[in-house]
């Protein structure tokens, strides 16, 4: 099939950017979206033009590197799917596709479709951990964790830190991302000791890093490639209230 692409091109963080049009010819339905872009790039390189810069690494939906807004939806809108897992069979011959970077105040564009997601790191550094030391911890079975708690924690822990939730959010908020970590650790006995401090520190860090507030649009959940549920935001809110009384 043949496609028309409109891709955001921006040579550097301060440079102005604009959408450029490219043709993708003879695209196979079995190709992944990124492989389609690879081929466009191969042509650009041969023409001596700067290929489209985009983030990617694992290409199997787990590293969280790939980050493109496709036709207005982060990761392209297929349920529980990252860009790198999106396949061309989801598109039709003759389609026009708009490809843009994540856009949020906290994610400055570095080049073309690549953004700086360091702000997410800051949130994690503020408290996304248990302060255990290497060595000298209890046996793994010393504290039992009911299956439903472990499963709940795992549901939250599936977050790949891609930032699609921020890109999708009308407020550029990182609540879903933050809540996933808060909820994971709050659900486990190991995370209890620091629960109050964690939720406060992480939400404050979120704000400092330039993310917006949550207005409960739930747009994040719809875009999240891992199906992280907004119930974790509710959990974060509960944890926060508990913390107020500590």
């Amino acid at each position: 099939m043949n496609l028309t692409l409109h891709v955001w091109r921006q040579s550097g963080p301060k440079a102005p950017g604009k959408l450029e049009q490219y043709e993708a010819k003879n695209v196979s339905p079995d190709q992944s979206f990124l492989e389609m872009l690879d081929e466009v790039n191969e042509h650009l390189i041969k023409e001596g033009k700067d290929p489209i810069a985009f983030d990617h690494d694992c290409r199997e939906g787990i590293c969280g590197m790939c980050s493109q807004v496709i036709n207005g939806v982060p990761h392209g809108g297929q349920e529980r799917t990252t860009v790198c897992q999106l396949h061309m069979r989801r598109f039709n011959d003759g389609d026009t596709i708009y490809i843009e970077p994540w856009r949020a105040l906290a994610f400055p564009i570095q080049k073309d479709l690549i953004v700086d997601r360091n702000a997410l790191e800051k949130i994690m550094q503020a408290g996304g951990y248990t302060s255990c030391h290497t060595g000298g911890v209890a046996d793994g079975n010393a504290i039992l964790v009911p299956k439903q708690d472990a499963d709940y924690a795992m549901d939250a822990a599936e977050c790949i830190g891609c930032g699609a939730c921020v890109a999708a959010c009308p407020n550029g908020s990182a609540m879903l991302y933050t809540s996933a970590k808060v909820a994971q650790l709050a659900a486990l006995p190991q995370g209890q000791a620091e629960a109050a401090e964690r939720v406060c520190a992480m939400t404050e860090a979120m704000q400092e890093a330039g993310f917006g507030n949550c207005s409960n649009h739930y747009e994040c959940m719809a875009a999240c490639p891992k199906g992280i549920n907004v119930k974790f935001i509710a959990k974060l809110n509960r944890e926060y209230q508990k913390a107020l009384f500590k």
């Binding site: 507030n213 747009e219 926060y240």
Partner: protein, 221 residues
């Protein structure tokens, strides 16, 4: 205080003040519906209400404070949110966010305008349409005032429009405050979404029923 500086904390204040406002709306609706019992209903209710001035004023100030907090944080949160999202997508398709959720500030401000107007009209009696008088039992004749004003189609329509705004505000506001309070889980999230819409619709229809009934001529002087 941590709660005031944190984005979650401020949202909780929004939520609590929003809930207070909803409670007020409910009480107000019950009070207003005494109009269906004719002059004796609503005039007696109004008289009863005003017989305890300190309580009335305490209540008024409390609601004023609640709405002030709600507005102050509503505006600041909205400004912060707009700043955090440069909104520069050439194409953006929302999957979940609704007209109501995206326009909370506008529906809120329109409701605010309406509240101003509403107070000016029926509390301060400052608009030309208002007829002030006493009924046969020497009570302020609220019934006549309301029925006369709502007899004016324009005033009724404005009122209905305001209630539509309130509906929009609450159709997102109700599920939203439940989420903000953390009273939510995987199963309740969709249920509250629909529930919120239904309740706000009922509220809207209930409020609108008053001018509608008057306009239709079913409630006359």
């Amino acid at each position: 205080m941590r709660i005031l500086s944190s984005s979650v904390g401020r949202k909780i204040l929004m939520s609590i003040t929003g809930q207070l406002l909803i409670i007020f709306i409910l009480i107000h609706l019950i009070g207003n519906s005494t109009i269906f019992f004719g002059p004796n209903g609503i005039n007696a209710y109004a008289e009863h209400l005003h017989s305890l001035p300190p309580l009335v004023w305490a209540f008024r100030l409390f609601m004023l404070a609640a709405i002030a907090v709600h507005i102050a944080y509503g505006v600041t949160l909205t400004l912060e949110n707009k700043a955090a999202n440069p909104g520069a997508y050439a194409v953006k398709r929302n999957l979940k966010a609704s007209f109501a959720s995206e326009n909370m500030i506008w529906t809120g401000l329109l409701v605010l305008c309406f509240i101003g107007y509403h107070l000016l009209q029926f509390t301060i009696h400052g608009t030309p349409d208002v007829v002030v008088g006493l009924d046969s039992a020497n009570r302020p004749d609220v019934f006549r005032m309301v029925v006369t004003s709502f007899g004016n189609a324009l005033i009724s329509l404005a009122y209905m429009f305001a209630m539509l705004m309130l509906f929009l505000h609450l159709s997102h506001g109700i599920p939203s405050f439940l989420q903000t309070m953390g009273w939510n889980n995987e199963k309740t999230i969709p249920a509250f979404g629909t529930g919120g819409k239904v309740i706000s619709a009922i509220l809207m229809l209930a409020y609108i029923s008053i001018p509608a009934v008057i306009l239709a001529g079913l409630l006359k002087l």
